[in-house]
């Protein structure tokens, strides 16, 4: 699913649904705290390059997560001696993530059932 972020706020049928990016960020942070750049690399690698996330589009999502207190951020120094701001998931972030994943799975199964009648996925 290639994703292209256009400068205008026109929605495109191939954009990620709202909340998808947050979900993926939270999941990545759950595995390991990271800074923005590392998060982008992570998402691209893990999705087998199926998702081409525009690097900058992470930041609005990160700010939203910060505001909702689902993550917290700290300035520090990375392993490569760079000054970085590392994000970490919070407890409420964890529970929010679990909710989101289960509702996403339900939605996906529902869509799959409609689009492919007769076939069921194993969840």
């Amino acid at each position: 699913m290639p994703v292209v972020n256009r400068p205008m706020t026109e929605s495109n049928a191939r954009d990620l649904f709202p909340g998808a990016l947050e979900m993926m960020i939270l999941e990545s942070l759950r595995r390991q705290p990271a800074h923005g750049y590392a998060l982008v690399q992570h998402i691209q690698q893990r999705s087998n390059d199926l998702l081409q996330v525009e690097e900058g589009s992470l930041y609005p999502a990160l700010q939203r997560l910060l505001k909702a207190k689902l993550v917290k951020a700290e300035w520090g120094v990375s392993s490569t001696n760079r000054r970085v701001r590392t994000y970490q998931i919070t407890a409420s972030g964890l529970s929010h993530l679990e909710q989101q994943i289960s509702s996403f799975e339900r939605m996906f199964e529902g869509i799959w059932l409609v689009v492919n009648p007769g076939k069921a996925t194993t969840s």
Partner: protein, 877 residues
């Protein structure tokens, strides 16, 4: 981080964010360099991979903002900056709007004061009065008492009469004052409380001449008594009768007739002392001017009208000889006398000022569109950088609203001051006329609403332009001058403006023409070179039997003044003065049942002396005028006007010598016929009139009419000294007849002035509109014009190319406006006498005016077009 105050916290967040993004891009760049790219290329790739940095940063920041409020504030700041950069445009726009909104606010103030809230009394909405106009209101005092006691629709019914020219003597010398004679319950019905002292009540009345009390109006108390709080309890003399001042009415109360501001109030039971007809005679019509009261809750207007009609019917049946039935009507109190005319006029004004606002919006709209076109490059860049069209439009709208609020505030201020000035203005000194307009709270609301409305209206003009802008084309090619034949929005707007201006110019010209005509129309008398002198013998203490002899002596004395051609006398007021006119029922000679339904006509009735017609300049058509021999002992005679003669007897010559009957049965013989004239108002249809010899029906208050070619000042002084010779204590009120006509002409004058002002404003707006378009078109095509001139085109062709379009639009707009104006002036004809739109002079005038406008407006751009130096221009490019 919670202990850091919010502002600093926000800034920290933004700083963190910026730094984070910077570091991200750096990291990416380093990675790419490690992979083998050149640093420059790596930097570029990193930026591309990141995406639209500005936009993303902004979006991230938005997370922390109160989105709507903050972005509005940001819009406002940016708009202010933009407007400050082009001060000329901003000032012109604000001024235009201030003018238009100010005009609308003033007209609304007029409507508020004259139509919506004509009276400043509590709960004025349920206050109704008997209708004066077709004369159903004038009635006798006993009639009013019956009406009050028998009706079932009013909570209580009060009544009043006007007493004019009363000699108000505070001990030093009598000065003429005008007042209302009101029933005891007048103030209680109106629910008014005194400002000082007390007001009179029904309990003060104990029969005729039993309540010698006076209540001053606030204005009179301030001007004549200097606001002295000691007036309460002071003894004064009204027409030589002793009265006591018992209080002062509140400042905002000015009586119950619109446009009339009395000086004092007195109880109606003492009216006879002022020379009014006897209170207890049922046959007199002029004891009570109007009856008024609040409707009982739950009673509708229709119910009240039929109730009052029923009472009137009963009275008619019970007193057939004394009651004259005129039909029943009830109107909102205060508006009864002039309601329809005022409403029509104000409605017309509102339409016209609304048109002005539209024209101003059209003007500003095209200015805005031009600005947007000029900023197309900037818009294109912003679009390319990632701004949404919605955002840009919002910015433009904010600019428009800022301008309209500034203009609205300025206009409100001006209108406020103007209305305040108008409400204290006494247009004709000595006459209790005033304009009941005072700025109220609604004015602010209206001004705000207008500002919002007009801001939106002209702010959305460039919408299509912005929405269709293709940023890449614009940046590539630069703003091109579209010289196509297509009709753009700006063209349409200009045509609209010009049409509106043409409408306004047409109506002002029509009004002016009508006024000029009305001043020269036939009145039935010649007011030029005529002096009037009002003499009230009852005020000086003369008893009824001595009055006629004294009046004759005065007439003869004035006749001896050198330079006086003729002297006459008329009881009451001369025709066309103060809209005071008495009417009487007359019957054909053979009618036996002299009751109002059988009346043959209802002519105006005047009682005049011999030589009155010569003095007034009224032409005698047949028969004779009066002689001193036509007194009480002689047979009753009358002189009638042409209309009367035609209606009663079929012709002028056929009328002389014929008889008819008055209401009281008297048989009157027609001695002569005079020309027709106007008696009550300038716009009335021709009415019949009869003149009776004053010796056969004498009255103590009369006006002398003196015809002379002498200088009015000297003549007045001579008249006054002659009268003083006869009786030193007799006050005389001298004025030229033309001055007295001012009251009748006042509405027409005001209307013409208002229309003239509006026409001028429309013209100014058009000039700026045409100028703007012409200047713009010339500056856009400067290159093309330069080339034309270099190729040897004659001046005319250059001018045609440059200004052809504006002039064509001018022509179209003027034609449209002219036709609309002609249709619309039917409304004006109601007030402005003889305002016929199909006057060739008016049409020619409008065409000339619009052509002049066009020339004036295009003068400067034309000069610019002709002085173009092709070499310089082509070199610049």
């Amino acid at each position: 981080m919670d202990w850091i105050p919010p502002i600093f916290r926000r800034r920290k967040i933004y700083n963190d964010l910026s730094e984070e993004i910077r570091l991200h891009i750096e990291e990416r760049t380093e990675q790419l360099v490690r992979e083998g790219m050149s640093p420059k290329q790596a930097a570029r790739e990193a930026r591309l991979a990141f995406g639209n940095r500005t936009l993303l940063e902004e979006r991230s920041r938005e997370v922390w903002q109160w989105p709507t409020l903050e972005s509005i504030a940001a819009d406002v700041r940016i708009a202010l900056r933009q407007l400050r950069r082009s001060p000329g445009f901003t000032i012109a726009a604000v001024l235009t709007l201030a003018l238009a909104i100010g005009a609308n606010a003033v007209v609304f103030g007029l409507m508020d004061g004259m139509v919506l809230r004509p009276l400043n009394v509590p709960q004025a909405g349920s206050l109704y009065g008997t209708h004066y106009g077709d004369n159903p209101a004038w009635q006798s005092y006993p009639n009013y008492i019956d009406l009050r006691d028998r009706n079932r629709s009013f909570e209580d019914l009060a009544a009043f009469n006007m007493v004019l020219g009363v000699g108000f003597d505070t001990g030093k010398n009598p000065i003429a004052a005008n007042g209302f004679a009101a029933t005891g319950n007048y103030f209680d019905v109106l629910r008014i409380h005194p400002y000082l002292g007390r007001l009179f009540h029904a309990s003060d009345e104990h029969g005729p001449n039993s309540a010698p009390y006076v209540v001053l109006t606030y204005q009179y108390w301030r001007t004549r008594f200097n606001g002295d709080p000691g007036v309460v309890g002071r003894s004064v003399q009204l027409d030589k009768h002793a009265f006591t001042i018992i209080g002062v009415a509140p400042p905002e109360f000015q009586g119950t007739i619109m446009f009339i501001a009395p000086d004092f109030f007195m109880p109606i039971v003492n009216e006879e002392q002022m020379g009014a007809p006897s209170l207890n005679t049922r046959a007199t019509e002029h004891a009570v001017f109007e009856a008024l009261g609040h409707l009982k809750p739950g009673v509708t207007l229709a119910q009240a009208v039929s109730d009052v009609g029923a009472v009137n019917g009963y009275l008619e049946k019970t007193y057939p000889k004394e009651i004259v039935h005129h039909g029943t009507a009830l109107s909102r109190e205060g508006l009864t006398s002039f309601g329809p005319a005022v409403r029509a006029f104000v409605a017309g004004l509102m339409v016209l000022s609304g048109l002005i606002l539209l024209a101003a919006c059209a003007n500003l709209g095209s200015l805005f569109a031009a600005r947007a076109a000029d900023r197309s490059r900037e818009v294109a860049l912003r679009l390319a950088l990632g701004s949404s069209r919605k955002r840009i439009l919002r910015g433009l709208l904010t600019e428009a609203l800022l301008i309209s609020f500034a203009g609205g505030a300025a206009g409100l201020l001006v209108s406020f001051m103007l209305l305040r000035r108008m409400s204290t203005w006494q247009p004709i000194p000595g006459v209790p006329l005033h304009l009941p307009v005072a700025p109220g709270a609604m004015l602010y609301v209206v001004a705000l609403g207008l500002a919002l409305f007009s801001g939106f209206l002209f702010g959305i003009v460039p919408i299509r332009q912005i929405l269709r802008a293709n940023p890449y084309e614009v940046v590539k090619a630069g703003p091109s001058a579209r010289t196509g034949r297509r009709l753009t929005i700006r063209d349409v707007l200009l045509v609209v403006q010009i049409a509106i201006c043409a409408v306004l110019v047409t109506s002002s010209l029509v009004a002016v023409r009508g006024l000029v005509r009305s001043l020269h129309s036939k009145f039935g008398f010649d007011p030029r070179g005529t002096m009037t002198a009002g003499v009230d013998l009852a005020a000086a203490g003369y008893s009824d039997d001595k009055v006629p002899a004294m009046q004759r002596r005065i007439i003869e004395a004035i006749g001896t003044i050198p330079g006086v051609d003729a002297v006459g006398l008329v009881n009451g007021y001369p025709p066309l003065v103060y809209t005071a006119g008495n009417r009487a029922d007359v019957y054909k000679e053979e009618t036996s049942d002299l009751s109002p339904p059988n009346a043959a006509a209802m002519p105006f009735r005047y009682e005049v002396s011999p030589k009155y017609f010569e003095a007034a300049g009224t032409t005698l058509l047949a028969g004779r005028s009066f002689l001193w021999g036509d007194d009480k002992n002689a047979p009753s005679v009358a002189v009638v006007n042409r209309e009367f003669a035609d209606r009663m007897f079929g012709s002028v010559t056929g009328a002389v010598g014929r008889n008819y009957r008055l209401q009281d049965g008297t048989r009157v013989q027609v001695a002569g016929v005079v020309e027709d004239g106007k008696y009550m108002s300038l716009t009335e249809a021709q009415q019949p009139a009869m003149f009776l010899p004053f010796l056969q029906s004498p009255a103590s208050a009369a006006y002398l009419v003196v015809r002379s070619k002498r200088d009015p000042q000297q003549l007045a002084a001579a008249i006054r000294s002659k009268v003083r010779e006869l009786d030193a204590g007799l006050p005389v009120d001298t004025q030229t007849w033309t001055q007295m006509l001012e009251v009748v002409l006042f509405p027409a004058r005001v209307a013409t002035m208002a229309l003239g002002v509006l026409g001028l404003m429309g013209a100014m707006l058009s000039i700026t509109g045409i100028f703007g378009m012409a200047a713009y078109s010339v500056s856009n095509r400067l290159r093309e014009l330069g080339i034309r001139m270099a190729l040897g085109a004659p001046r005319k062709e250059v001018l045609h190319a440059a200004l052809g379009r504006p002039f064509r639009l001018l022509a179209i707009g003027s034609a449209a406006g002219l036709t609309m104006g002609l249709l619309a002036t039917r409304v004006l004809a109601f007030i402005v006498y003889q305002a016929t739109p199909r006057d060739p002079l008016v049409l020619a005038g409008v065409v000339l005016a619009m052509a002049l406008l066009g020339l004036l407006a295009t003068w400067i751009p034309a000069q610019r077009a002709l002085s173009v130096n092709p070499l310089i221009l082509l070199r610049e490019d």
